[in-house]
């Protein structure tokens, strides 16, 4: 593998990590708010808070890692995306800021403030929508470069069918991933009331998720036929993704092996996400920027890869400790600690 591929793979893996952990977090915020307004708060909020409290900050770092890393490995992305994304990027920052701080305010400050909880719940759906715009833009057609000046065509973005299907997919996937995880977590906590509610959510959101995925797939054909063609070449990955989806829904439906069900969900998204990413290559921004012409120099690439490996050696044991204490410690999960 050349350095370019290693670099993009590392970054894409972290983005995938963010997709999963952030979806759990975003969805949980929404469900928690939704249950408050429908008067079922006492049923599920305990499970949600127990899981979220120790990990919320870790979630954010996945994102920071991605956007710092991409400028490190591919400095030219700063030029293209930086100029084009001023407005959507700033809006995403504001949403992230509101969400992160109001979670802490609500949770550590004073509990039960409805308005804080609303902010926290609503931003959970708006953030994935605004972040998904970056992927849409990367397909080309919205950015033009004239005389070294980058222009962003918002009119085209807001009227594009493709861009709206991506937004819908982002939102429903968040709800689906989150519900599946929380179903599993509630089951481990032996909280059967919460389990019943959350399982209902998981099943409810499964169909829209797959529908939205199919829509995105086909609207991409209209928007960027080149990319669509390379996606068809990788269609085995997408079929695999569909099988994982069926497996996950089946297990949740039958209330069996819920841990495995969530692993299937992760695999469903892993196959689709990496399939999408691999077929997008070599472009970082179609058709202006590829991983080859935007790449950093060799000295920096080696330094970053070494730093990455050293960092992982530090992080993996720490993450393992975190998971052992809060995710797989039955006594903690069940609220006996």
């Amino acid at each position: 593998m050349d350095y370019e591929l290693i670099g993009i793979t590392v970054l894409w893996t972290f983005l995938y990590g963010y997709l999963i952990v952030a979806s759990i977090d975003f969805g949980a915020g929404f469900f928690s708010y939704y249950s408050t307004i429908t008067g079922r708060e006492h049923v599920i909020s305990k499970v949600i808070n127990r899981y979220l409290s120790p990990v919320w900050e870790v979630t954010n770092v996945f994102l920071v890692f991605f956007f710092i890393g991409i400028v490190g490995f591919f400095p030219s992305t700063a030029f293209y995306y930086g100029t084009a994304l001023l407005i959507p990027g700033s809006i995403a920052i504001v949403l992230l800021a509101i969400r992160g701080s109001y979670y802490a305010f609500h949770h550590y400050g004073f509990k039960g403030n409805r308005f804080y909880q609303f902010l926290y719940g609503a931003t959970g759906l708006l953030i994935p929508a605004s972040l998904s715009v970056v992927l849409t833009i990367s397909e080309g057609g919205f950015i033009t470069v004239v005389n070294e000046q980058v222009h962003m065509n918002y009119g085209a973005l807001f009227t594009s069918f493709y861009s709206w299907t991506v937004v819908v997919l982002a939102i429903v996937s968040v709800l689906y991933i989150s519900a599946c995880f929380l179903t599993f977590y509630a089951y481990k906590a032996r909280d059967m009331n919460a389990f019943a509610v959350l399982r209902g959510y998981a099943l409810f959101w499964s169909f829209p998720t797959i529908l939205a995925s199919v829509l995105v797939f086909f609207s991409l054909n209209q928007h960027n036929p080149t990319h669509f063609a390379s996606m068809v070449d990788l269609s085995w990955l997408f079929s695999l993704s569909f099988l994982f989806f069926l497996g996950a829904v089946y297990l949740i439906w039958k209330q069996k092996r819920l841990g495995l069900a969530f692993i299937f969900v992760m695999l469903q998204f892993a196959t689709a996400f990496f399939g999408y990413g691999a077929s997008h290559l070599p472009y970082l921004l179609f058709p202006y920027l590829t991983i080859y012409d935007g790449f950093t120099n060799e000295a920096m690439a080696i330094a970053l890869i070494i730093a990455f490996i050293a960092g992982l050696l530090l992080l993996i044991p720490s993450l393992y400790l975190l998971m052992r204490l809060f995710l797989f410690d039955n006594k903690y999960v069940q609220g006996r600690k």
């Binding site: 900050e57 954010n60 920071v64 710092i68 990027g89 700033s90 920096m300």
Partner: protein, 443 residues
């Protein structure tokens, strides 16, 4: 008003974001150290008061960390959004420490999560204490890494520029550039100093309000001792920073001192105003002091502003920033040393009202010194974004609407600041120390 210029607005927006972030960043670097100290003393002396101190500090700390994290995320993204041309060049040379910084955050975030939720989960108390060590290391490391990036902007190193293209890159040389040692030492030690003073100010105001519990006295004693140590360290390192400037960025030092003509036996100028003809009026002069600050001997020659082309000079207002920072530094050192001395002498009462009031004032003043230090450092670097290589105007975005973004972010920071203060106040008001001591059965 004036014409829309993305460069001006990008600068203001960056300054606003960083000026706000650095408040929380400073607390974020410093407070873990104090929490660790308090819990350690609590365990060693078997004194539950200190453990409760650590516990309550940690509880407030999470709130400020949250704001630190979100504003840090903002500045991280804004660097690319507002300075795309700069980041494209800098990305090639200085992205290593930024990348390392994310690992430091990661490390800190994981252990902070664990630390907060495991107060009573271990049989041995010391095991819980071990968890705060990675938090303190992670916080200090992230402060260190980001400071190397800023050092690089002041003294770019570790690459060659050939026809506008960077080549021959050495990431480690870029990271450990000449500005790194003094800058990172000064940033870290001023962060510890400031955090200690802020916590001391809280203890002082409690005592002033007539809460005479020994808990507050212990808090004050611990924080003022730490403050005294780091006040001296900060001043000593600040002196080294001056010597660094004299060698590598003489125009910045000269601007800070309104030192127009190169001369030996240069005096240090305090305060004053500048006339149209660049004459200094109403200032206090300390003979030889600038020569000593710059080179360590009274007779040394200090380069003046006259030796630099007009268009390369920083704004002369940095003089005031420098004076305020140094003035506050002296003040903080003085009161923390007085406090520690008075405690030693048993006859004296270190909890007298005037001293407590000055300690209380020290908290906000220390934070002001941090802001002044950064403003001095950043504006003193102008007109360069990468000294000698890229001017600030060349690094900025060309997008329209930076002004709108500026208003949006000002609003965001206002809301965050107000909420943060309200939350902290309510949190500690609804659960006063005396109450918590009883609830936990400490007395």
């Amino acid at each position: 008003m004036f014409e829309y210029d993305p460069v001006i607005y990008s600068r203001i927006l960056t300054a606003v974001t960083l000026g706000f972030h650095v408040i929380f960043a400073t607390i974020g670097v410093g407070i873990p150290l104090l929490i660790a100290l308090a819990e350690w003393i609590g365990i060693k002396r078997n004194d539950e008061h200190y453990r409760l101190l650590a516990r309550r500090w940690a509880r407030g700390f999470v709130i400020t960390v949250a704001v630190g994290v979100v504003t840090g995320t903002a500045i991280g993204l804004q660097l690319s959004l507002l300075w795309p041309n700069f980041m494209q060049v800098a990305g090639h040379v200085i992205s290593l420490p930024m990348f390392l910084e994310t690992f430091a955050f990661f490390f800190e975030a994981i252990f902070l999560g664990i630390y907060l939720y495991t107060w009573d989960r271990f049989k041995k108390k010391i095991h819980h204490w071990l968890l705060v060590i990675p938090v303190a290391i992670g916080a200090t490391a992230s402060g260190f890494f980001i400071t190397t990036v800023n050092s690089f902007m002041n003294t770019p190193h570790g690459f060659e520029m050939v026809n506008g293209v960077v080549t021959d890159i050495n990431p480690l040389a870029a990271m450990f550039n000449p500005a790194t040692p003094t800058k990172m030492a000064h940033v870290l030690s001023s962060a510890y100093l400031t955090s200690a003073f802020i916590l001391a100010a809280i203890a002082a105001i409690s005592l002033l309000r007539g809460k005479n519990h020994v808990y507050h006295k212990k808090a004050l004693n611990l924080t003022m001792t730490v403050a005294a140590v780091f006040a001296i360290a900060t001043a000593l390192i600040g002196d080294l920073s001056g010597k660094f400037l004299a060698e590598y960025q003489p125009e910045k030092l000269a601007a800070a001192e309104w030192h127009f003509e190169t001369s030996t036996e240069a005096p240090l100028i305090l305060g004053g105003v500048l006339t149209e003809e660049n004459e200094v009026k109403y200032a206090m002069e300390i003979p030889y002091a600038l020569s000593i600050l710059a080179h360590g001997t009274p007779s040394a020659e200090v380069i003046g502003l006259e030796e630099f082309p007009e268009e390369d000079l920083p704004p002369l207002i940095v003089h005031y920033f420098f004076d305020i920072m140094v003035g506050i530094g002296m003040f903080l050192a003085l009161i923390s040393i007085i406090f520690v001395m008075m405690r030693r002498v048993t006859k004296w009462n270190e909890h007298n009202k005037p001293l407590l009031w000055t300690i209380f004032a020290g908290g906000p003043l220390a934070m002001l010194a941090i802001e002044m230090g950064w403003f001095f450092n950043e504006m003193g670097r102008q007109p360069w974004i990468l000294v000698g290589y890229m001017r600030t105007a060349e690094g900025a975005t060309t997008s329209a609407h930076v002004d709108l973004m500026l208003y949006m972010f000002i609003l965001l920071y206002l809301v965050l600041a107000i909420s943060c203060i309200t939350v902290l106040r309510r949190m500690f008001k609804s659960n006063p120390v005396e109450q918590e001591l009883k609830d936990r059965g400490i007395e």
